[in-house]
């Protein structure tokens, strides 16, 4: 038994090391030879996977942070309190990694601070830049009590706790703006983006789906953590999130299809084709499957059923973001974009760092309630090992 554990530990660490090595090699290529050599981007296709996955999906996957802080601190739903720290950790890591990815994608990354002093309030990208900067700061502050507690720094802890509510309110507002503004970005391309995805409601779609994904990610990471860190699963809490997820997905589905019908695009979605298949993949994974699962009480109350529904939701909306930013442009630009290995390597490395950092934070910081975590060395070793296992699971999707 002990032998198996140590074998797995080594194997997943190797996977992590491989992803890091490949990513670092790609990083060297990116920062010595430029975007042309390290990406499949071109004049006709200027945004690729670093924007689609690392930024659009990254921000979306971090949405649990504002959803849960709003539920716990604003709506005062105390039952959710036990899962708020891992959620904030995910959001904080997510935003740091989005910033890291931006450094790869920007052509002149050393000018990333320019929006601070060169302002163009007519630009959505300007809003996005400010939201990223401000919300990362808010998340750092929301996360800080965890670190301050660890080192028993009472004075700063008091300060942060005193401003917690205004901080949470700022966080919710900034997130609302940021999640929706990533949709607003695409309002400027009515002739270029495929009608399945171009809609005046894009900001609303991005925002509502971010809430859904925020809930799904919370279920996903709580399930994974309970499995791998040997924690007790907060099943009643997750069931509650599952119920809210039904409502959010329902609202999204109604709005989405009403919009398609209003714009007269609905019948186009039954015409076979590249865009049609990817559109239905997104709808099946993101809406149909999770709703079909969650609407059955037997599934909704089971840990595995909830987990499956959450994973499906996340994958569905990852597909959605990729469709909006890649699939939807392939028709009008006449380009079939597929990322170069260097682009994939950087993205893989960023995901790997995310999972490794999560595992390390759980190991060294009070993320989960003390009583839930095993204190024996064996349990800790297992925790560290399985944290790495999560790396592969995610890298596989």
């Amino acid at each position: 038994m002990a032998r198996t554990t140590s074998f797995r530990l080594t194997f997943w660490k190797l996977v992590l090391l491989f992803l890091l090595a490949a990513g670092l090699y790609a990083t060297v290529i990116r920062f010595t030879q430029g975007l042309g050599a390290s990406t499949n981007l071109s004049d006709r296709f200027p945004w690729g996977i670093w924007i689609s996955f690392d930024v659009l999906c990254g921000v979306m996957l971090a949405a649990g942070g504002f959803t849960l802080t709003a539920a716990v601190h604003i709506l005062n739903i105390k039952r959710l309190h036990s899962i708020i720290r891992p959620t904030i950790l995910t959001a904080f890591l997510g935003y740091i990694l989005v910033c890291a990815a931006l450094m790869y994608d920007l052509g002149r990354p050393y000018n990333i601070w320019h929006p601070l002093i060169m302002r163009n309030p007519h630009s959505v990208m300007f809003e996005v830049a400010y939201c990223v900067m401000l919300y990362t700061t808010v998340l750092a502050l929301e996360f800080s009590p965890i670190v301050l507690e660890r080192f028993n720094l009472q004075k700063p802890l008091k300060v942060v706790r005193a401003i917690l509510i205004p901080l949470v309110i700022c966080g919710v507002i900034l997130s609302t703006l940021h999640q929706s503004s990533l949709g607003t970005l695409y309002l400027i391309v009515p002739e270029k983006l495929h009608p399945f995805w171009y809609s005046p409601l894009l900001p609303a779609f991005f925002f509502i789906s971010a809430i859904a994904v925020g809930l799904a990610m919370t279920i996903f990471e709580s399930s994974l953590s309970s499995k791998h860190f040997g924690l007790q699963l907060e099943l009643p809490v997750l069931q509650e999130l599952g119920r809210v997820l039904i409502v959010v997905l329902g609202v999204y589905a109604i709005l989405r299809f009403e919009d398609l019908a209003n714009r007269g695009v609905l019948k186009l979605t039954f015409r076979p084709g590249y865009e049609t298949y990817l559109f239905w993949l997104e709808i099946l994974l993101g809406i149909v499957l999770p709703l079909a699962l969650l609407l059955q009480k037997r599934v909704r109350t089971s840990a595995n059923g909830l987990y499956l529904a959450a994973v499906s939701t996340v994958l569905g909306f990852i597909t959605n973001r990729m469709n909006v930013s890649i699939t939807g442009f392939e028709g009008s630009t006449g380009v079939r974009y597929f990322p170069k290995w260097t682009e994939l390597a950087v993205t893989g490395m960023i995901i790997a760092i995310g999972f490794a950092a999560f595992a390390l934070a759980v190991k060294y910081l009070p993320i989960f309630p003390k009583e839930a975590l095993g204190t024996e060395p064996v349990a800790q070793a297992e925790a560290a090992g399985v944290g790495n296992e999560a790396v592969l699971i995610h890298a596989g999707d």
Binding site: F31, T32, Q33, G34, L35, G36, L41, S42, D43, R44, P46, W47, A70, H73, I74, L75, N76, I77, K78, R79, H81, S82, D105, L106, G107, R108, P109, Y110, N111, I112, H114, P115, M118, R119, N120, P121, H122, S123, V124, M125, F126, E127, V128, I169, C170, V172, I173, T176, L177, S180, T184, L185, L187, I188, V189, P190, E191, K192, P203, T333
Partner: protein, 246 residues
């Protein structure tokens, strides 16, 4: 009127310090090293270049204001401001801005309508060199009047449309053609309204949304916590919904 001599291409390259040779002359598309190009379709020629829109999408989407519409017409680019997000390339309805993909710290490249020359009261390099007058430089109103007059006086010679008069709210480059504009890849289905309003309509709500959102969230917080306080004061357990750890 254009005879496809490509002298405008050459003059443009010289003006913008770009190299120009036979290979580049053979390229029928705009790129970071070729800011205008002559398109050949049978015996008809057409130019492609930045339209220098009246209300340019690129300038509206640029987060740092590196792209700017100047009063005299040119839409200029300041590389020292640019952070390389490439939103201008995504957003431009004519897909004009190009990127120096081969460089480590690339610039956006596009025709900027020779702003230095225009300020001095000179014509653009391409208009000055044109041997046939196919490219003409002047006041927008005067050029529109002339274009419409040419269409009126030569029935059947031109497509009855001045491209750029209304496209995306009007452009500083106007085109006349004997064959449909689509022949040369010019989209005729672009909006008649300037595109920047599409995003600004949403962005302009932010100043209202922030205080309103803050008030609503603060209000909800106050209510939910007040309920708890009242419950505590009255000595009954907090509502079930808020139950759990205290």
């Amino acid at each position: 009127m254009c005879i496809g001599c490509k002298q405008c291409e050459q003059a443009c390259a010289t003006q913008n310090n770009l190299s120009y040779d036979d290979t580049i002359a053979g390229e029928e598309y705009q790129s970071a090293h070729k800011l205008t190009c002559i398109l050949t379709r049978g015996d008809k020629f057409m130019r492609r270049l930045c339209m220098n829109c009246q209300d340019p999408t690129c300038a509206s989407v640029c987060p740092v204001g590196a792209l700017k519409k100047t009063a005299l017409g040119p839409v200029t680019y300041d590389p020292s401001k640019c952070m390389g997000c490439r939103y201008c390339m995504v957003a431009c309805p004519f897909s004009v801005p190009k990127y120096e993909w081969g460089k480590l710290f690339p610039k956006v490249q596009k025709c900027v309508m020779c702003p230095d020359r225009v300020v001095q009261g000179k014509q653009t390099a391409c208009a000055e060199i044109c041997p046939t007058g196919a490219t003409k430089f002047g006041e927008r109103e005067a050029l529109i009047a002339e274009a419409q007059q040419r269409i009126r006086e030569n029935p059947g010679k031109y497509v009855d449309h001045v491209y750029g008069l209304e496209e995306v709210g009007g452009t500083s480059v106007l085109l006349l053609s004997a064959v449909p504009f689509e022949t040369f890849g010019y989209r005729t289905d672009v909006s008649k309204d300037p595109l920047p309003m599409l995003t600004y309509r949403v962005l302009s709500h932010i100043p209202d949304f922030v205080p309103l959102g803050g008030m609503v969230l603060g209000g909800v917080w106050w209510i939910t916590h007040r309920r708890e306080e009242v419950a505590l004061a009255e000595g009954r357990p907090a509502e079930k919904k808020n139950g759990g750890e205290q």
